[in-house]
């Protein structure tokens, strides 16, 4: 008798055959499911790429919109000001909160803060924009302003920054902290020079992702930033400011070809920034966490 078995072709029972067919169909369905997700995304990106690129020219970046034609300079500058401005508020608070939660937040207070922070992410952006309209734009008298827009965006992205910071800092080994304490370091030194430095790639990831979110937001800005056809003149209050997502949202409704072209061009710019940040973060920074 040979030690190896000859492969004897067995007759498959009908049950077995049914199971194999079911499994094959199952795999096919899973592949179909994936395509149902991937294809719309690719179609979306392609549509925007093709229609947006057709509006591209040098003037797109050097002139501002006037009514329904022109360029996107004011909108581009405005988006940059609003998003970077929101980081000015969101980074200290978000990273600080995340640091608190990871270092000192393993208690009742910490879990309450975590829960409420998650709740804040569930707040619809339009509710936030509406709140800011009544309190800052009208109540404080700032009118449509970059400051109102930035603060609203900041409220939106702080919870994300806090959560990602907390997760990144938690991965720093406890031994590093203990070693620093053993050397006599104060809490502040341990937090900044040891934990934050080690967890920096993760924190930067969070900041960049928050930036990507703020670049793509519309509803919080409609009633806070207003709209302007002119490049931002440096005033933080009493001066409305343009932004790219406004162009996408309103110009697509105008029955002029030039307006549609601008809407797609703005969408292309927004998508480029959002995709660049997200892909970049996943390829470059994630492995380092």
């Amino acid at each position: 008798m040979s030690a190896t078995f000859e492969a004897v072709p067995t007759k498959r029972s009908s049950l077995e055959r049914r199971r194999m067919i079911t499994s094959a169909i199952g795999w096919a369905l899973c592949g179909l499911a994936f395509l149902l997700v991937a294809i719309p995304l690719l179609d979306l990106v392609l549509t925007i790429l093709i229609k947006g690129a057709s509006a591209f020219s040098i003037t797109l970046f050097t002139t501002s919109s006037n009514g329904v034609k022109g360029g996107l300079l004011a909108a581009i500058v405005g988006t940059a000001v609003l998003s970077l401005g929101s980081l000015v508020f969101a980074v200290p608070i978000g990273v600080g909160a995340g640091m608190y939660l990871s270092e000192y937040g393993q208690n009742r207070l910490g879990s309450v803060i975590r829960f409420l922070s998650d709740t804040l992410t569930g707040m619809p952006s339009v509710v936030l924009g509406y709140f800011s309209y009544i309190t800052m734009v009208i109540g404080f008298g700032w009118q449509f302003s970059a400051l109102a827009g930035s603060i609203t965006l900041a409220i939106m992205i702080v919870p994300y920054l806090a959560r990602i910071t907390e997760l990144s800092l938690q991965r720093v080994p406890v031994s590093m902290r203990e070693a620093a304490f053993a050397l006599g370091a104060r809490e502040r030194t341990v937090a900044f020079n040891v934990v934050l430095s080690a967890g920096l790639p993760g924190v930067v990831t969070g900041v960049l992702l928050g930036l990507a979110i703020s670049v793509g937001e519309t509803a919080p800005l409609i009633y806070t930033a207003g709209w302007s056809n002119y490049v931002w003149n440096g005033k933080f209050i009493h001066q409305p400011i343009g932004y790219l997502t406004y162009v996408i949202w309103t110009f697509i409704d105008q029955p002029y070809k030039s307006a549609h072209a601008l809407a797609f061009a703005a969408a292309l710019l927004v998508m480029l920034v959002v995709l660049a940040i997200n892909i970049g973060v996943r390829i470059v920074l994630r492995p380092k966490i």
């Binding site: 931002w232 440096g234 029955p255």
Partner: protein
């Protein structure tokens, strides 16, 4: 040590960012020597305002005007709250609004009109006839099909399709809704008793009725939905023509069917502008006269007579004065099929403009 170097680098970065911010602000402050005005509101007036702005800015360098198309309701609300300097509106403010905001002026800048457009495959080159009561029936859901006897009676000899009508209304606070609902209100008692008029009305539930945002949204809705009917400002006549949509003849107060043309708009204006009061709030809808087009209106600038400073007040006065004089020349108005203000009204407007101070 690595962390020291990192700290130093991050401090340097922070300092550089701060310096850039300050430099940018400095540049900004230098640029801010001019005055910025924001105009928002009526999508009916929006095309004309966009035509005006470059010419006005050439005449008055140092004033920057941003225009927005958000609907008359927004124009009124934001002018009242002070977040914009000029609210454009096809509708004048209500008595209650005036009572609550006595400083707000309603200043006509031009006379415009509104058309009823539709998308009927095969029939868009014909001017179908409609009356106020028939339109009211369509928008209340009492008349549901194109070949309803009421519509066929007005259009003898036309083969109307047996298909559901899709009435499109404005979802935003709209001056177009205001004048359209006034036409229905003045001509149809049942509409007046149930729905009334306003920049927003409680549109009766019509299965399949669509909502659209702004005049452009109305045009798009017609383009995408055969068998739809909508009310669209005449300033969009080019887009309507390009889309090969139909334009209706409307029954006026004298019982005649008229199209919105320069002649019919003028006829209606001549009948009523003489009655314009000092605060210039008056409806021009459903004017008497055989040649009068029934849906015309003043395009208002809703402005606060108390502006935040003298420079802004002067800029606003300059813009309004320019608009009601140079801006009223045929070369601008005919691009949107509007009509110029008569001299008597220009005088009333000038008197109101003089009240603006900062």
């Amino acid at each position: 040590m690595r962390s020291d170097a990192k700290l130093r680098r991050s401090t340097l970065l922070r300092a550089a960012a701060a310096a850039a911010l300050v430099a940018g602000l400095g540049m900004g402050v230098a640029q801010a020597a001019g005055v910025s005005l924001v105009e928002t509101g009526s999508s009916l007036l929006y095309p004309l305002f966009n035509i005006w702005v470059p010419h006005f800015e050439k005449a008055y360098p140092g004033v920057k005007v941003t225009t927005q198309s958000t609907g008359s309701g927004a124009g009124i609300a934001q002018a009242i709250s002070g977040v914009v300097q000029i609210g454009a509106s096809d509708a004048y403010m209500s008595d209650q609004q005036i009572k609550q905001n006595p400083d707000i002026l309603n200043i006509p800048l031009a006379i415009s009109a509104q058309a009823i457009n539709y998308n009927l495959p095969g029939l868009n080159d014909k001017h179908l006839k409609f009356s106020g009561p028939v339109l009211a029936g369509i928008y209340t859901g009492k008349i549901t099909k194109w070949n309803d006897p009421a519509i066929e009676k007005l259009n003898p000899g036309v083969k109307l399709p047996d298909h559901q009508i899709i009435p499109v209304h404005r979802t935003d606070g709209s001056g177009d809704t205001f004048i359209f609902s006034q036409y229905l209100d003045f001509s149809t008692p049942s509409w007046a008793n149930t729905v009334g008029y306003g920049t927003t009305v409680s549109w009766p539930a019509v299965q399949g009725g669509l909502g659209a945002n702004g005049n452009p949204g109305m045009v798009e809705a017609l383009k995408q939905n055969p068998y739809a009917i909508a009310y669209i400002g005449v300033s969009f006549y080019k887009e309507v023509a390009q889309a090969h949509l139909g334009k209706a003849m409307l029954l006026n107060k004298a019982g005649k069917f008229v199209l919105p043309t320069a002649k019919t708009i003028s006829a209606a204006a001549d009948e009523l502008v003489g009655k314009t009061p000092a605060d210039e709030r008056i409806s021009l809808v459903f004017a008497p006269g055989a040649m009068s087009y029934p849906i015309i209106n003043y395009e208002y600038a809703i402005v606060n007579s108390k502006q935040k400073d003298a420079a802004t007040a002067k800029a606003v006065k300059d813009l309004l004065t320019w608009a009601s004089n140079q801006g009223n020349s045929e070369s601008y108005l005919k691009q949107v099929e509007f009509k110029a203000l008569p001299a008597a009204v220009k005088k009333l407007s000038a008197e109101q403009i003089a009240k603006i101070s900062g």
